[in-house]
């Protein structure tokens, strides 16, 4: 993917070093026009760093940021036509909703009439018309998020960046807003980069997920690719809740088995003892004690559970890893 050049956003060998610390290590990533790629990973993995490098807010220590084949590296943040939605929304507290939208256009010298036309159109698009005279302090969390989004879209940017745009909203609102955010952002001409630490959000928003850890890209691909065919143990255990079971079955090899791939059966190879069950309505999660430690097993909610069940699985679901490096091994 990363070798394809031309249309879209392309990161080539992008690095960021602060002092001795390597925050981002030679990242290669391509985001096609209209595509939404989620940068996913635990905190400190380099996802926000990547976003700031693309925006030009921090200088890269190496590598290039290309947009439609054109190198942006030498350009300042104001000259990249990048729109960014910040985690805090970064709304100007002294200005009304209209003022927040208009300030960027004003500093670039757009005439008042044209400015008003654009503001009105964007407020209509996001159904914010009634709030136009409110100040950020007088808006709810969801409304602030929409204003931040409106401000980003208003500019008709060439790249859209979102830094954890929903992390300040409650879970229910997040789920409600996801389809709308997708409708507004994705499928336009711009490449979209979406930073999140929430895998549900990444799966819900993005066409592809780039999973980072400790400044390194671990794997990039569709959610299905990452889930079914993880490149290493980190990817396998980061994606999927409840987390994958890791069993030191053989010396020098570690077996990964997803909780939904373990079955209760009378002739199973592994003996276990029931510790606890969590009933979720559509599924139930069993915590079992076995000779390889605690195992998580997902079953249908009504499955009867003996006190000392035996477990089995299919060979096709086995994921093998190197116990030291975590690298994926052939089965």
């Amino acid at each position: 993917m990363s070798t394809a050049s031309g249309a879209g956003l392309e990161l080539r060998q992008l690095c960021r070093e602060v002092g001795e610390r390597l925050l981002l290590d030679r990242l290669d990533l391509h985001v096609a026009p209209g595509e939404c790629v989620a940068l996913l990973g635990p905190s400190g993995c380099g996802k926000s760093t990547t976003l700031r490098l693309v925006a030009g807010l921090d200088p890269a220590s190496g590598g290039q940021v290309l947009l439609d084949g054109e190198d942006l590296s030498e350009r300042g943040p104001g000259e990249r036509q990048v729109a960014m939605v910040f985690q805090s929304y970064a709304l100007y507290p002294h200005l009304s909703v209209e003022g927040n939208l208009g300030l960027g256009l004003k500093v670039r010298g757009m005439a008042a009439r044209e400015r008003q036309r654009r503001i009105d159109a964007t407020l209509d698009l996001l159904q914010l018309g009634e709030l136009r005279h409110r100040r950020p302090a007088q808006l709810s969390g969801g409304q602030r998020q929409r204003v931040a989004l409106a401000r980003a879209l208003l500019r008709e940017p060439r790249i859209v960046l979102l830094d954890e745009p929903m992390s300040n909203l409650d879970a229910q609102l997040r789920e409600e807003l996801r389809p709308e955010l997708r409708r507004l952002l994705c499928g336009r001409e711009q490449p979209v980069m979406y930073v999140t630490h929430d895998q549900q959000e990444a799966v819900g928003m993005a066409d592809r997920i780039a999973l980072l850890e400790a400044g390194r890209l671990q794997q990039v691909g569709s959610p299905r690719e990452l889930y079914t065919n993880p490149a290493n143990r980190f990817v396998a255990s980061f994606l999927g809740r409840p987390a994958i079971n890791l069993l030191a079955l053989e010396p020098g090899r570690q077996l990964g088995l997803r909780p939904e791939h373990l079955h209760l059966s009378e002739d199973g190879a592994v003996a276990a003892r029931l510790l606890r069950r969590e009933w979720w309505g559509h599924q139930q999660l069993l915590w079992l004690d076995s000779q390889w430690g605690t195992l998580r097993v997902l079953t249908a909610p009504e499955t009867p559970t003996p006190r000392e069940p035996r477990l089995s699985w299919q060979r096709q679901h086995e994921l093998w890893f190197d116990p030291q490096s975590g690298a994926r091994l052939a089965p």
Binding site: A55, L57, G76, P77, G78, E79, R80, V82, A83, M84, F86, Q87, S88, Y89, A90, L91, Y92, P93, H94, L103, G104, K106, V107, R108, R135, P136, A137, L139, R144, R151, R155
Partner: protein, 295 residues
């Protein structure tokens, strides 16, 4: 009701303290200003039916000093605000050795005014001060900086600015640190220049701190006493005399306590009017609104 009573109770100690050190002297001034109380009356208060106030209205020295005090306050406060803002912006930027630099800038403010004023007086001494020493060593003749009205006035303002600019800078620096960095970044991404960011974002958000500094400094400089008393003694020929100095003179040199109280009270009233007016103006300018910030 309970909260109201208990909050009043909680404020009581402070109110008592304020009443003792502010209210009582003010009332005493008010009473004394209606008495003749000088050497002529043997320093005993004798009611004179407002003669002090009539004298004040007609006292050219009082009104000259009022003008001089106002001019001093406006000039030095304006310079302090501009300089303090520049200093604060500089110290706010990520610099190597920013911590020690910040401490260093505060040094003039930490010096007692009297000590500082004496220092300046020595620096400007004719002919033995270091400035005149330098002038003479370059072949010039030494100059009486504190003997001509214009240079004296200039150095009185300079000394005040030098001493209190760090205070203003510190206050504004605190204000700058309340502005989240992402606001500036958002505006930078929209293509704003440094100057535009300052004008459209930083200054409006700094407004509450600027007005606070302005009011603080106006109040202090309108009541200036120690700096002028030590540096120029109000001279030459009274051209740097402030109202506080004049009141002090009336009480301590002329021993006219009745009239000194009148001058004091009049100064206080002028100050209240100036500060109250300034405060109202600033409030209408939207300080309150600028301080709001989404949670």
């Amino acid at each position: 009701m309970r909260t109201r009573t208990s909050s009043l109770l909680l404020m009581l100690p402070a109110l008592v303290l304020l009443a003792t050190v502010f209210l009582y002297p003010l009332l005493r001034y008010g009473w004394l200003s209606l008495q003749a109380s000088s050497v002529l009356t043997g320093l005993l208060p004798v009611p004179n039916g407002g003669a002090n106030w009539l004298r004040l209205l007609d006292d050219a020295r009082f009104w000259t000093d009022a003008g001089q005090t106002l001019r001093f306050a406006l000039c030095s406060v304006a310079l302090e605000l501009v300089g303090g803002l520049a200093l604060a912006l500089l110290l706010h930027r990520p610099l190597r050795g920013r911590g020690p630099l910040r401490a260093l800038t505060l040094l003039p403010w930490a010096l007692p005014t009297t000590v500082m004023a004496l220092g300046w007086r020595w620096i400007l001494n004719d002919p033995h001060g270091p400035i005149n020493g330098a002038i003479r060593s370059l072949g010039g003749t030494s100059y009486g900086f504190l003997s001509t009205p214009a240079t004296t006035w200039f150095f009185v303002v300079l000394a005040d600015v030098w001493k209190t600019m760090p205070f203003v800078a510190l206050l504004l620096l605190a204000g700058l640190q309340t502005i989240p960095a992402d606001l500036e970044e958002a505006l930078r991404l929209e293509g704003a220049s440094r100057v535009q960011i300052l004008r459209r974002l930083t200054l409006p958000l700094l407004l509450p701190y600027l007005s606070l500094a302005l009011l603080f400094r106006l109040a202090q400089s309108l009541g200036v006493f120690d700096l002028i008393q030590v540096l120029s003694g109000g001279g030459p020929a009274g051209t740097t005399e402030s109202l506080a100095l004049y009141a002090y003179l009336n009480a301590m040199r002329f021993l006219d306590f009745g009239y000194a109280s009148t001058v004091m009270l009049a100064t206080f009233l002028l100050l209240v009017v100036a500060l109250g007016g300034g405060w109202l103006l600033l409030r209408r300018g939207g300080i309150a609104r600028a301080t709001e910030r989404p949670a």
